[in-house]
Each structure stands twice: as structure tokens, then as C-alpha cells.
């Protein structure tokens, strides 16, 4: 694996926001490589810019300066429309609050990203069923999010994230809203995705137990990254 180029390459990334006429420098000259198949945990105090960095890597926000390459593509040079298409193909999203569509069943929620592909209805069904079986929710596919527990909803969200077989998975505090048991289920599931299916996961978390699952932990503080490589996995 050592010779393979990193799947994510970030160079001299800067990002600031305006609040009124005040400039807030959120990310300051960040450089980072993430290898294919890596499980990276991003930690840091609240407001340190973790979500902002994750959003930039996932192509849902624009950088001020710097380069982000994902799978060899410089996403900072893509237009809004190109970026949307790129996300549909290359990024799986897992959010703190699951972000499922409440009027759609688990099956339909997982199917959503596939509607943007050219797959036939039958092919879509196969993909959705596979994704739901990976997260162990085959028996709940006709349930609406409101009929599922938090942990189950997050597993549906994970199925939605992996159904298109994206290049990277990004997770923003995926266990932040879950009880300890459900959080463990979700973390074990994510670890399985990395180990068994070779996925690359970039996860923002506050939870030390979550971070322990990761191969690499990075700390973000005041817009600057510090490496804390974890050795005991």
C-alpha cells in the first residue's frame, strides 16, 4: 500500500468567514494526506473548524486558497454543477443528525443517490438491498425514519452513504447524538467498512472511544493541524 498515492491531498488550505465586517480565519494553511483505506479521526474543540474542513474535502464548500485533490481530481477547480456531479459519484455523507428524508422509507432514502445514476429500477433495488444488508437492516427497509431508533437511522444513513460505492466517506460526529450502545454499533460498522470493504473514512468526532477505532487521529486547534498518529490498532 506504501507506493499508492494518497487518496486525499490537501495543500496550504485556507478558509475564512465573514461575520459582519469581521474576518474569522477558520482554517490556516492546512496540509494533509489521507491514504486509500485509511480511517482518519479529526478531533478538536468546538468551533475549531472541523466541520468546515470536512465540508471542503467533501466539496460542499469553497476554499479561499489552497488545493484539495480527491482521487486525483482537484475539486477546487470544479464549477458548482461539476462539483454536484462529482459529489454524487465520489462522496458518501454521514451526519450527526442522520439527515434522512422523513417522508421516505429506509429503502427509498438509500435509493436517493442512485436516482442520479443511470441504473435501472432493478439494479437500484439490488444495490439498495446490498447496502441495507451490510448495515444489517434488511428487515427494516419499509420503515420510515420516525419508526426507527437513532442507531438504526444512522445505519440507514451509512447505507445511503455507501450505496454508490464512493471514493471517500465523510462523517461529522456520527455518534454525537447516539447512546453508548448504538454508538458502538455504528463505530463497529464503520470499522468493518474500512477493514472488510476497504473504504476510506474521514470522521470528525469528540468521542475518544470513536477516535480509538481510527488508524490516524489529527487534532485541529485554532485552524492548525497537529498529528497524533495512533499506534495500537
Amino acid at each position: 500500500m506504501g507506493n499508492r498515492p494518497p487518496i486525499v491531498v490537501i495543500r496550504n488550505l485556507c478558509k475564512s468567514y465573514f461575520r459582519g465586517n469581521q474576518v474569522i480565519q477558520v482554517l490556516n494553511d492546512i496540509s494533509l494526506d489521507i491514504d486509500d483505506g485509511e480511517f482518519l479521526a479529526l478531533m478538536g474543540p468546538s468551533g475549531s473548524g472541523k466541520t468546515t474542513l470536512l465540508n471542503l474535502i467533501a466539496g460542499i464548500d469553497k476554499v479561499d486558497s489552497g488545493i484539495i485533490q480527491v482521487g486525483g481530481v482537484d475539486i477546487t477547480s470544479l464549477s458548482e454543477t461539476e462539483l454536484a456531479q462529482w459529489r454524487a459519484m465520489n462522496v458518501g455523507f454521514i451526519f450527526q443528525f442522520y439527515n434522512l428524508i422523513p417522508v421516505l422509507t429506509a429503502f427509498e432514502n438509500v435509493e436517493l443517490p442512485l436516482l442520479l445514476t443511470g441504473l435501472s429500477k432493478k439494479e437500484r433495488r439490488t444495490h439498495v438491498e446490498t447496502a441495507l444488508s451490510v448495515v444489517n437492516l434488511s428487515d427494516r427497509m419499509d420503515h420510515y425514519p420516525g419508526q426507527l431508533s437513532g442507531g438504526q437511522q444512522q445505519r440507514v444513513a451509512i447505507a445511503r452513504a455507501i450505496v454508490t460505492d464512493p471514493t471517500i466517506l465523510v462523517a461529522d460526529e456520527p455518534t454525537g447524538d447516539l447512546d453508548r450502545v448504538s454508538a458502538n454499533d455504528v463505530l463497529e460498522l464503520m470499522e468493518r467498512l474500512v477493514h472488510e470493504l476497504g473504504k476510506t473514512i474521514i470522521m470528525v468526532t469528540h468521542d475518544p472511544r470513536a477516535a480509538k477505532m481510527a488508524h490516524v487521529i489529527k487534532h485541529l486547534d485554532k485552524g492548525v493541524l497537529n498529528a497524533h498518529p495512533q499506534t495500537d490498532f
Binding site: T51, T52, N55, A58, I60, D61, T81, A84, Q85, W86, R87, A88, M89, F93, F95, Q96, F97, N99, I101, V103, L104, F107, E108, E111, L112, P113, L115, L116, R160, D177
Partner: protein, 385 residues
């Protein structure tokens, strides 16, 4: 799963709000439809008028009469097939509130020129023979429960005194747009009385009705007739029946314009109501639209979702409103038959209903869609939780 299903599910997510909006649209479309029907009814006489009929009246004004002697002269004009004449009577039945059109005509020629007025043959022959008789439209007879043989008394306004008529016939219209609320009697009866009471007013008619052999020569015949009476004591103005009827309507144009304005105002108000519903909905779902965008759905899809939802709500309401328009128009027409002898919902009115609903749906979706498309994903996602 289809996007259409999602649109429907979204539309009925907030049941009470959707229900109230649909109800509002239904009522607005119903009111709009009824007002449009009032307007089209106003112009129905114009539609019902024939292109091969002319009306000749005094050039100065409709209230001035023409000599009876013109009849034979008009008949001589090339292209004229039949000539009849009439006088507005303006009699009052019981009191002013019970208004209906009543006028004196020469029955035989009148019914020849107006084949759309249909009287059963037996009644017709009695009507022709009995000079003191009259015929009434089906709806008018129904309104007052008149039967053949009843004596009907009208109080004269233009011609003083109480006038008794025997109802000898009840006519119906050949087409839907024929006025079935008129009361028609013998011009001879009126004229004979005038000869006794006010001879100066005798042998005068209010207007001539002329049928030409071919609509193409109608204009030409009109010019010929008017030229013939140029420089005579009573100069004439001859126009097609359509122009004649339009002349009547122009007197009431202000009312029609007011009704038009109100009808569009209703659409404008309901537009604001639907727009409010849609922007509340879109504001609540801004996070969801951000999720769709995160997953790679474009502005086109988001716009589709919002426009689709607006269309579903508006069109369900419009369908309900249109559905209710027909029975409502029936009741409306019955209650107000004094003012609107014919009250039918025209296909054009339904097209306008649908058009108005489409405009409402699109305008209402415009701003919410614009906002949902343009909000930055990261900001939209922050609204969740």
C-alpha cells in the same frame, strides 16, 4: 421510488395547512369562475346574434321611433329577405323588482327571422290568431307559474294604463344561449290602442329587424337602407345585430370592467396565500433541500420538487373549485334569472380557471425555489438539529 411520489408526500406533510390552502384555492377558483361566467353571460347576446340579421333604428337615438311606412321600402332593398319590427313596451309586472324584457312585435315575420325561438305549432297558430295574446319564455313562465290561458297584466310605463294579455304560448330556445325570459306580444294590439288614445304615437315602430339572404352582403344592405332614408324626417342607423347588441353592452361596460378587476384581484389574493404556504414549507425544509444538494441533486431537481408541490396543492384546489362551479352556477343562475336570463359556464371559463391556477402555482413557487437553490449547502445543513 419516483420523484413524483416524493412531491405528493411532501405536499401532504402538513395536513391542516395543505387542506386549508387547497380549500382557499378551491373557493378562489369557484369565485373566479362565477365572476367570469357573469362576464361571459354579459356578452352572450353578442354571441347569439346572427351575422345575417340587421337592426335598423332611428339615427338620433334608440328612444326615437321610425315610421311604419319604412317597412315596405326596406323590403325592396336588394338582398333583404324578410323584415319585421318591434317596439319596446317596458311594462311592469306587479312591481319594478319583477323585471323582464317585454316588447311588441309583428309575430309572423318576427318568428321567421328568429328561428331559434321555438313555440309548439298548436300554440303558435292560436298566438297568431289572437291579437290580445302573448308568448313568454320557458324560464319566465316557470318563474311566475304561468299556464297557457292565464291573463297577465302589465302596467305601462312608456304607454300608460294597465294592459291585459292572454298567455297563448310558451317558447323555448333552440340553443343554450337564447334568452328564455322575454315576453312578446302583438304590435297590432299596441298600435290599435294608440290610435284611440294618442294617435300621434300610432304607426311608429321602435326598430326594424331585417334578415338578409347572405351574411356577406349584410354590410352592403345596411348602407343601402341608410342611404335610402338620408335627408328624410327620420334618418336611420342600420347595423348588424352583433353591433347593435354590443352598443347596449357598452352602456354597462364600467360594471363589466369592475367585475373583471375583482376576478383578477381574487386570483392575486390566492396567489399570496399559496406563496405564503410555499415559503413556509420551503423554509422548514431548507435543511432537507441542502441534503438533496449534498447528495448531488442540482438546482433543477430542487426547483422541480418545490414547483411540483406548489402545482399539486394548487391543482387539487383548482379541480375542486371547477367541480363546484357547475352546481354553483346552476343555483346562481336560478336565483338571479331576472338579471341573467342565461347563465352557463363556458369552456373558456374553465380554461381560464386552469390558466389562473397554473400562474398561481408557478408564481407561488418562484421565490421559495430561488431561495432553496441559492442557499449554500453548508449553511442549509447547519439549520438541522
Amino acid at each position: 421510488m419516483h420523484i413524483l411520489k416524493l412531491i405528493f408526500k411532501n405536499a401532504f406533510r402538513h395536513k391542516l395547512r395543505t387542506f386549508l390552502t387547497i380549500l382557499g384555492v378551491a373557493i378562489a377558483i369557484l369565485a373566479f369562475g362565477l365572476l367570469r361566467t357573469v362576464i361571459s353571460t354579459w356578452y352572450l347576446g353578442v354571441e347569439a346574434s346572427s351575422a345575417s340579421r340587421l337592426v335598423t333604428r332611428n339615427a338620433i337615438s334608440l328612444v326615437f321611433p321610425l315610421p311604419l311606412s319604412y317597412k315596405e321600402k326596406i323590403r325592396q332593398v336588394e338582398g333583404v329577405k324578410e323584415v319585421s319590427y318591434g317596439s319596446w313596451f317596458g311594462g311592469i309586472y306587479i312591481d319594478e323588482k319583477h323585471f323582464f324584457a317585454n316588447y311588441a312585435v309583428e309575430p309572423e315575420t318576427y318568428l321567421k327571422i328568429y328561428p331559434e325561438i321555438i313555440i309548439p305549432p298548436d300554440q303558435k297558430s292560436v298566438f297568431f290568431r289572437d291579437r290580445k295574446s302573448a308568448v313568454a319564455g320557458r324560464k319566465l313562465a316557470e318563474r311566475y307559474g304561468w299556464k297557457i290561458g292565464d291573463i297577465i297584466t302589465l302596467k305601462g310605463t312608456i304607454y300608460s294604463g294597465n294592459w291585459d294579455f292572454v298567455l297563448r304560448g310558451i317558447y323555448r330556445g333552440r340553443d343554450e344561449n337564447v334568452d328564455e325570459t322575454a315576453f312578446v306580444f302583438h304590435w297590432e294590439y299596441l298600435n290599435e290602442s294608440l290610435k284611440k288614445t294618442s294617435p300621434l304615437r300610432a304607426d311608429q315602430v321602435g326598430w326594424y329587424m331585417i334578415e338578409v339572404t347572405n351574411p356577406n352582403i349584410a354590410a352592403e344592405a345596411a348602407v343601402k337602407i341608410d342611404r335610402m332614408f338620408k335627408n328624410s324626417l327620420a334618418e336611420t342607423l342600420t347595423e348588424t345585430e352583433k353591433a347593435f347588441t354590443l352598443g347596449f353592452i357598452s352602456m354597462t361596460e364600467a360594471i363589466v370592467i369592475a367585475i373583471q378587476l375583482v376576478s383578477f384581484l381574487i386570483i392575486f389574493i390566492i396567489m399570496a396565500v399559496v406563496a405564503n404556504t410555499m415559503s413556509m414549507t420551503a423554509r422548514e425544509r431548507i435543511g432537507e433541500y441542502a441534503i438533496f444538494k449534498t447528495l448531488g441533486f442540482g438546482g433543477f431537481h430542487i426547483t422541480g420538487l418545490i414547483f411540483g408541490e406548489s402545482l399539486v396543492i394548487t391543482m387539487v384546489g383548482a379541480a375542486l373549485g371547477i367541480f363546484l362551479t357547475f352546481p354553483a352556477a346552476k343555483i346562481f343562475g336560478k336565483e338571479l334569472s331576472t338579471y341573467f336570463p342565461v347563465f352557463i359556464v363556458e369552456p373558456e371559463t374553465i380554461y381560464m380557471d386552469i390558466g389562473a391556477a397554473l400562474v398561481v402555482a408557478c408564481v407561488a413557487a418562484l421565490f421559495p425555489a430561488w431561495r432553496a437553490v441559492n442557499i449554500r449547502i453548508a449553511d442549509g445543513l447547519r439549520r438541522i438539529g
